[in-house]
Symmetry: C2
Subunit: 410 residues, 2 copies
């Protein structure tokens, strides 16, 4: 009998996609499902960047340089400068989505058995990349009560061992929407310098910061050897399907090593690089409209959630996600029930159970992630559904769970 | 001091690209360099498949299904049927180039420390994927004297251990151009069944078979559990830069496992999938022209090479590569010398030293790989250069090395 590999067995299935069959069944019954479960924005992809592909003269669609077209990398230098990041074109390696940038970082910097510390809840696919690289994720818990702020330095120090090689952060954060402050970024620097750790910084949501500018790991002085930025155009230009990202570091040994992995897979996608290059030419004002749109949605979502009895949703500083604490017994059961057994005026809502975003078993059972990737009208109707659902859900808990809830009850 | 990983250190740099700085220096001196060193065809990408992208209405370039768009996979069922392969759409997983298909196979089926047997010379990047997966490549030598035919079953049996989990083949072959016969494919089946091995079959060059139809691993009866086909549109439609491939297997456990790796990286490139889908609609006659073109080039290349004193080039049955044995001391030194110290009428030729394609140290020192990816005119001039170069090369050997050479000498 042929066996699949151990890592293949350990590889987690997508926690976000496991409810898909229930959503499909609901749709077959004629129920409209509002998808707040995935980070697929409905924002239009800028037509000009698709036009750049349409107009390109391509007699032969050749391999690009393994690090990506030099013309694109040189343009990205200007983009990064515009967000206060000073890098050279040969410190940028174009990747197949942010996913590949994360993998290059794990493979180039970490040995099997090494540990990476990640504040939880975190982007669930970090688990998959860790299994692929044979690396152990060590979660430290950030808490909904304080909006998922960075855990104190002491919490990091409790889990750091000689096997710890890196910290992974994402700010603005998926799934919490939390935006690390300058002080929190400085705290991360303190830990990385003290313990000689890489800082892998996933900055996919940089432009969508509502409570101040996002502080990049590249803004930290004296961290040139430690920092690797994992970037992507997926969310920035609503171009998730392009599969175009970047691995950015001033650490030459790390760059050169990642380059060997890049050479093995030959090159990043060619048509997407034309899009990426055109995107750098978009005016700075391009972001005003999607950012205003997301902000309006966030405000609606957060106010609606907090108005529901027993619900607490901290106001996220960026990205397009919010985490909410609900008066429920089990978020997996609740999200499945929403699709399987509930509808309101022929509609229901699909959410992501927060359990998939925690590394510590048992956490997130009364939390869900909501991606505000639908227009305000749909988002409002989705909130109507959720409100009704919480009234009807058989597994509703009546325990008062947070200070906010207490004050609402008073 | 922050350290890169062990596998990062072990990761081989591209053997094909290491001569690039010498080529660049030659060009700076005004020398025209004929590139026979890389498998980047000059054949036009079919305009209709690029037009499909131009005409596509894409308001939002969304993530596709992690296995690729269902519409594309359903179309590929017909493509595979046309080459005698009977698979269902849910046995096809769309990948980012053939590279990712190979990686999914290694990660899904092999544990660190496992061994894969590969007839050498072989595609050099298999080494990189093996390092990435922590897998050991065990080469068995196929020989230029018999045109790189499959080594006898006994040679496989000599190296098979309890750690051996798979055989990797590529037919038509890169770098040798050799096309495995039906009997050779049956021999591989015999070994895989006897020793319970996966058969990873890289079929990138399927359409470019000149001495008969390529036998797919999927044509072998009773091998449904063993076979994984790694495929790509790169060479088939001269669309290397699209980065679109496929992982095809009837082994459900392997497919489901690869799917988990696919979910972690979200989706394959979106615009490329539009190209891939349009490519299935090309008439079967599409291949006539590029195939005839490659055949003409092959005939020119092989006859020119074999007419050079001391040179032996077996006639390849497929793909667009040929391996030649040259009267030289060291193929790495020779290929560098061609770029650094030689020119003929202001021109020179860039070749790939065969050493990079052998797993056994020391082999390939008097062999080079030539990719016939230039038109007949350029190819002829490149052969003129090589002929002159062999006359002048200081490291020329005078030893008669093969039967063919002997018969030429007589």
């Amino acid at each position: 009998m042929l066996q699949i590999s151990n890592r293949g067995q350990q590889m987690p299935p997508s926690p976000i996609r496991k409810l898909v069959p229930y959503a499909e069944a609901a749709k077959k019954k004629g129920i409209k499902v509002f998808h707040l479960n995935i980070g697929q924005p409905d924002i239009e992809t800028p037509p000009s960047i698709l036009d750049a592909v349409r107009k390109a003269d391509i007699p032969v669609l050749e391999y690009s340089h393994s690090a990506g077209n030099e013309s694109y990398r040189r343009k990205l230098v200007h983009y990064y400068k515009s967000v206060g990041i000073d890098v050279a074109y040969d410190q940028i390696l174009i990747t197949t989505g942010g996913s590949e940038a994360i993998m290059f970082g794990f493979f180039a910097c970490l040995n099997p058995g090494d540990e990476v510390v990640i504040p939880e809840p975190y982007y669930a696919n970090y688990n998959g990349f860790a299994v692929q690289a044979g690396v152990t994720v060590v979660p430290i818990t950030s808490r909904i009560e304080n909006g998922f702020a960075l855990p104190p330095i002491a919490d990091f120090e409790k889990v750091i061992t000689p096997r710890t090689k890196a910290i992974v952060i994402c700010s603005p954060n998926n799934p919490t929407g939390y935006l690390y402050s300058r002080q929190e970024m400085e705290d991360l620097k303190t830990i990385c310098i003290k313990y000689n750790l890489f800082l892998f910084s996933d900055e996919a949501y940089r432009e969508f910061s509502y409570t101040g500018e996002a502080v990049s790991a590249m803004h930290l002085d004296g961290m040139d050897e430690n920092v690797i930025v994992m970037d992507t155009i997926s969310k920035r230009y609503s171009a998730c399907g392009a599969r175009l990202g970047a691995f950015v570091t001033k650490n030459k040994a790390v760059y050169d090593t990642a380059m060997k992995f890049a050479q093995a897979r030959l090159s990043p996608p060619g048509l997407a690089q034309i899009m990426g290059e055109a995107a750098v030419d978009l005016p700075a004002s391009y972001f005003d409209k999607p950012k205003a749109e997301y902000l309006e949605r966030r405000n609606l979502l957060v106010s609606r959630l907090n108005a529901m009895p027993g619900v607490f949703c901290p106001n996220p500083g960026g990205a397009f996600y919010a985490m909410a604490k609900l008066p429920i017994d089990d978020s997996d059961a609740f999200c499945q029930w929403l699709l399987e057994s509930f509808s309101y005026e022929g509609k229901t809502v699909m959410l992501a159970p927060a359990t998939g975003f925690y590394g510590t078993p048992g956490l997130g059972k009364d939390e869900v992630r909501l991606a505000y990737v639908l227009n305000v009208q749909d988002l409002g109707e989705a909130m109507d559904c959720l409100e009704k659902a919480l009234e009807q859900y058989p597994g509703r808990t009546e325990i008062v769970q947070t200070e906010k809830v207490m004050s609402t009850v008073q």
